[in-house]
Each structure stands twice: as structure tokens, then as C-alpha cells.
């Protein structure tokens, strides 16, 4: 038995794969904890998982100020390349700086054999490096790696931000420790990711989506009662602002309202006074349970939603908004498993055409099934667990 500590940001897409991996590790008798700022994560953890909540004294004014940064990501309108600057300067660097001391304290108490930190929580890697604990990097947004190749200037800029924080936290030099050289888990297949020469410690294990408990109720009865039309899910994830959603879902209503389709929309119902009769609107849905019954997905190109969709062999219409989503959309196009629209420019008619195109032209589904197969072959959680357990073996036992 070994002990593992995941270090996660308060972002769903980054947490989800760790819940599947954690459940598998727990079943194999290991001790597993999640270091997070979000106390509500406790209710989503698999049975036996421990929440290691990062908390600071209320009277620590500097820490309290920093806490505000965390809300930024859901409240600011950002898109395109500029969003990367925003993400690092206003969210990730403050978030990592804020979490670092708490992470160090928790690691001293929990004493894990292996740390698995999200690639955007480089404070986890910095802490592991400082305490000399073996660590793996969990890459929940792999398009960021691909960006190194496409627009290296952006990647170098990102590294400079990370190295700046490292120096502040006591690691001299300008080499980033943010990506583990022992094990970097990438939750996609090489087929979907595309060609790129990467060191051996990058392991493409495919999406890990099993063994996740769903907490969200769904109106299955209404879902079954609606006509036997094609069924699609429309979601732009959990991190975008209200004003974005109003504009976006307004177009969705114009494009798909009254069509011979069942449209499941992930949105606050209150966004509009009325929704079309062929829509089922919920602010949260059990996405993994729904996917087997769907025919296509319209989304913002969040890596998790895209991979979950392709894991079910379904085609996509991707409308990337910010961060790495443009590159994820690029991969969907490259794989011919869907269509892409520009978030700023698309009109309702474009969405309508794109949805009917992916539904009626079987080549998209066939391509999606090819990716589905490549995911299955990548090994998933079982492969990831084997690699993590190997990392838990003390160094002197290695051959």
C-alpha cells in the first residue's frame, strides 16, 4: 500500500480525471487524498478518499485578498490569445502563489509517497520538488503542449511566468519544474493529439472517465417522452460568464428551437424566460450517463467534454471560446470528427447547418469512432495506475 496526493485547481474538467484515477487507486488499497481549496469537493470524492482542504487563518489579510482571484475565471469576459495572458497573470500565478504554503503544510502532515499535481497547479510540482517527493503531472488540457509547437512564443512566455513564481518560492535558476520528468499523464491518445516529438515520460493513457459518481439528477422521463428525434447536448462548460451564456444560448435557441431534435442544454434555466419545447434545460447534467443516448455534442472545446464525447464515438460541433480550446477544436477538425465555428463570428444559421451536417453525414461519426478506438487502446486508468504505482516504489528498488 502506498499513499497518493492529488493537487487540483477548483475547476471541474481538471478534477474529473483524478476522481476516476483516485477511485481505482483506493480500490487497490492505497491511501488517496485530494489537496484543494474547494471544500465542496468532499462530496464528489470516491468512497475512502480524503479531502485535504487548503485553508488559512481568517485574519491573514494578504491571503484573503488573494482569494478573490479565484472568482475571476468565471467572471471575466476573455477570449482568443489574450485569454492566455489573463489565465496566467490573473488566475494561475495568484492561485498557485496562494495555495503554495497550504500545500506544503498538508504535504508535511499527509506525507504521500507520490504527488499527482494538475499541470496548471505548478505550485504542487514546486512543493514536491522542494520536499523531494516523487511527483507526476496530470495534463487535463493537453492542447497546451501542442501549442509549444504551433506558437512557441506563447509557450515560452508561459514558462517565464512559472519560473518567476518558482524563483519567488525558492527554486533558483530558469528551468521549469512544472512538468514532471518522471511521469506526465496525458489524458488523450496520440492519434487524437497529433504528431509531436515528446520525451518518453509523456504517457498518453487516453481519457479516464470510469468510476465517477454522478450527483446530478436528470429528467429521464421527459427525455424518453420526447419524440424519437436525434438527441444532442449543448454545453459550454462551467467556467464562462453569464453574459457569454445569454448571447450564446440565444443563438442556440434561434438555430435549434422547434427543430426535429431533442436538445439538452447545460445552463441556468433562468437565463431565458422561455425555452423551446424541444429543449431540456438543466444547470447541471449527468453528462457521462447521457452520452450513450446521444447522437452529437455541441461544446466549447473543453478537453474533457470533447474526449468524453469521442469516447462514445459521437461527432462534435466545437465553438472554442478561450484558453487552449481553439487547439482542441483544431484536433477535432484534424481528426475529421466534427466541425468548428468561430465563437465571435458564428450566427444561428451556421450552428444549424453544422449540427445537421454532423448528424446527417456519417463520415463524422466514423471518424469519431476511430478516435474512440484509439482511446480504448491507450489503456486508460489501468495503465495510469500501473505507472503511478511504479512511481511509488522507492528509488533504490528500481533496477
Amino acid at each position: 500500500m502506498a499513499s497518493f496526493a492529488f493537487i487540483v485547481p477548483p475547476l471541474m474538467g481538471h478534477i474529473n480525471p483524478t476522481l476516476s484515477l483516485g477511485a481505482a487507486l483506493l480500490r487497490r488499497g492505497h491511501r488517496v487524498g485530494w489537496i484543494s481549496l474547494d471544500a465542496t469537493l468532499a462530496s464528489r470524492l470516491p468512497e475512502g478518499g480524503e479531502l485535504l482542504h487548503v485553508r488559512y487563518d481568517q485574519d491573514d489579510a494578504a491571503k484573503k485578498d488573494n482569494e478573490q482571484y479565484l472568482d475571476q475565471i468565471t467572471k471575466k469576459n476573455v477570449s482568443g490569445i489574450e485569454s492566455i495572458k489573463f489565465l496566467y497573470e490573473e488566475v494561475l500565478i495568484p492561485l498557485n502563489r496562494f495555495m503554495y504554503d497550504g500545500i506544503i503544510n498538508i504535504l508535511h502532515q499527509f506525507q504521500p509517497d507520490v504527488i499527482i499535481h494538475d499541470h496548471q497547479l505548478f505550485a504542487g510540482a514546486i512543493a514536491a520538488y522542494q520536499l523531494k517527493i516523487p511527483y507526476a503531472t496530470s495534463v487535463t488540457a493537453p492542447a497546451a503542449i501542442k501549442m509549444m509547437e504551433d506558437l512557441p512564443g506563447i509557450h515560452e512566455w508561459e514558462i517565464r511566468q512559472i519560473v518567476g513564481l518558482q524563483q519567488e518560492l525558492g527554486i533558483p535558476g530558469d528551468v521549469s519544474v512544472a512538468t514532471s520528468e518522471a511521469l506526465t499523464l496525458v489524458y488523450t491518445s496520440k492519434t487524437f493529439f497529433g504528431d509531436m516529438a515528446l520525451p518518453d515520460h509523456y504517457k498518453f493513457v487516453g481519457p479516464v472517465i470510469l468510476n465517477r459518481q454522478s450527483l446530478h439528477a436528470f429528467d429521464w422521463e421527459r427525455f424518453r417522452q420526447l419524440d424519437k428525434h436525434p438527441r444532442i447536448l449543448v454545453s459550454i462548460g462551467t467556467t464562462f460568464d453569464h453574459s457569454y451564456k445569454k448571447e450564446f444560448f440565444g443563438k442556440v435557441i434561434d438555430a435549434l428551437g422547434g427543430a426535429a431534435l431533442t436538445v439538452i442544454v447545460v445552463s441556468a434555466v433562468s437565463l431565458f424566460e422561455e425555452w423551446p419545447d424541444n429543449f431540456i434545460v438543466q444547470d447541471k447534467v449527468p453528462q457521462l450517463e447521457l452520452l450513450p443516448y446521444l447522437d452529437a455534442v455541441v461544446c466549447h472545446g473543453g478537453h474533457n467534454t470533447v474526449c468524453e464525447t469521442l469516447s462514445h464515438g459521437l461527432p462534435l460541433v466545437v465553438i472554442p471560446i478561450a484558453y487552449d480550446q481553439s487547439h482542441v477544436a483544431g484536433r477535432v477538425i484534424q481528426a475529421a470528427s466534427g466541425l468548428r465555428l468561430n465563437y465571435k463570428r458564428f450566427k444561428a444559421t451556421h450552428l444549424k447547418e453544422a449540427v445537421w451536417d454532423v448528424l446527417s453525414n456519417p463520415s463524422y461519426k466514423t471518424a469519431a469512432q476511430r478516435i474512440q478506438q484509439s482511446f480504448a487502446q491507450a489503456g486508460g486508468a489501468a495503465t495510469a495506475i500501473a505507472l503511478l504505482e511504479e512511481l511509488a516504489i522507492p528509488k533504490h528498488f528500481h533496477h
Binding site: S79, G80, I81, E82, I84, K85, M147, D150, L151, P152, G153, I154, E156, W157, P320, S326, H327, A329, G330, N342, Y343, K344, R345
Partner: protein
């Protein structure tokens, strides 16, 4: 667009029109009609191109000029702020400087 051997240096106007053609190919004609593309247009803010569109635009520039200019190298040297502020005029000036140094 196929690579054309451009031994003859292009005028500033010709380069501008060529870049406009590439932008149209990347984002689609119907959207270009709504845009007032000028030399001062920035790719990110004015043309609202996202990173994958900028990458495919740069591939078109690259394949058109081939070895005559090191467009990829030039673009790679840009950091985030420079990319955010990149405008058509910057590219026109770069191509002109490559032509005049031959």
C-alpha cells in the same frame, strides 16, 4: 494556395491584398464582408481570429513565400503581447524587409 515563386518583389499594396486573400481563406468570405480589413487591423482584437486561425493563416503565408522568408521563425520569436497586438502592417513590413535584403 500553391506556392508561387515570387522572384519579383511585391509592392506593399500587393502584399496587403495577398494577406487579405489568406485571411478570407481562413475565416470565410461571408465573414470578411462584415470586416473592414486595413493595415492597422490586429488579428486578435479586430479580426477576432483565435490561435488556431492565426496558425493556419501563418501556414498560408509560409507556403506562399516558401524559403524566401522565414515567417515561422519570425512568428516564433514573438512573445504573447506581441502576438496579441500583431497587425497586418507588421507582416507587410517584415515581408518588405525580407525582399529588400535580397
Amino acid at each position: 494556395m500553391d506556392a508561387i515563386t515570387t522572384q519579383q518583389p511585391l509592392s506593399s499594396e500587393q502584399i496587403f491584398n495577398l494577406l487579405k486573400t489568406f485571411i478570407t481563406e481562413v475565416i470565410g468570405e461571408e465573414f470578411v464582408e462584415d470586416l473592414d480589413i486595413s493595415r492597422e487591423s490586429s488579428f486578435t482584437r479586430d479580426l477576432e481570429m483565435d490561435s488556431i486561425e492565426i496558425v493556419s493563416f501563418s501556414e498560408k503565408v509560409k507556403s506562399h513565400f516558401g524559403e524566401h522568408i522565414d515567417f515561422t521563425g519570425w512568428l516564433s520569436g514573438m512573445d504573447l503581447d506581441q502576438l496579441i497586438n500583431l497587425k497586418l502592417d507588421d507582416i507587410i513590413k517584415y515581408i518588405e524587409s525580407c525582399q529588400s535584403s535580397k
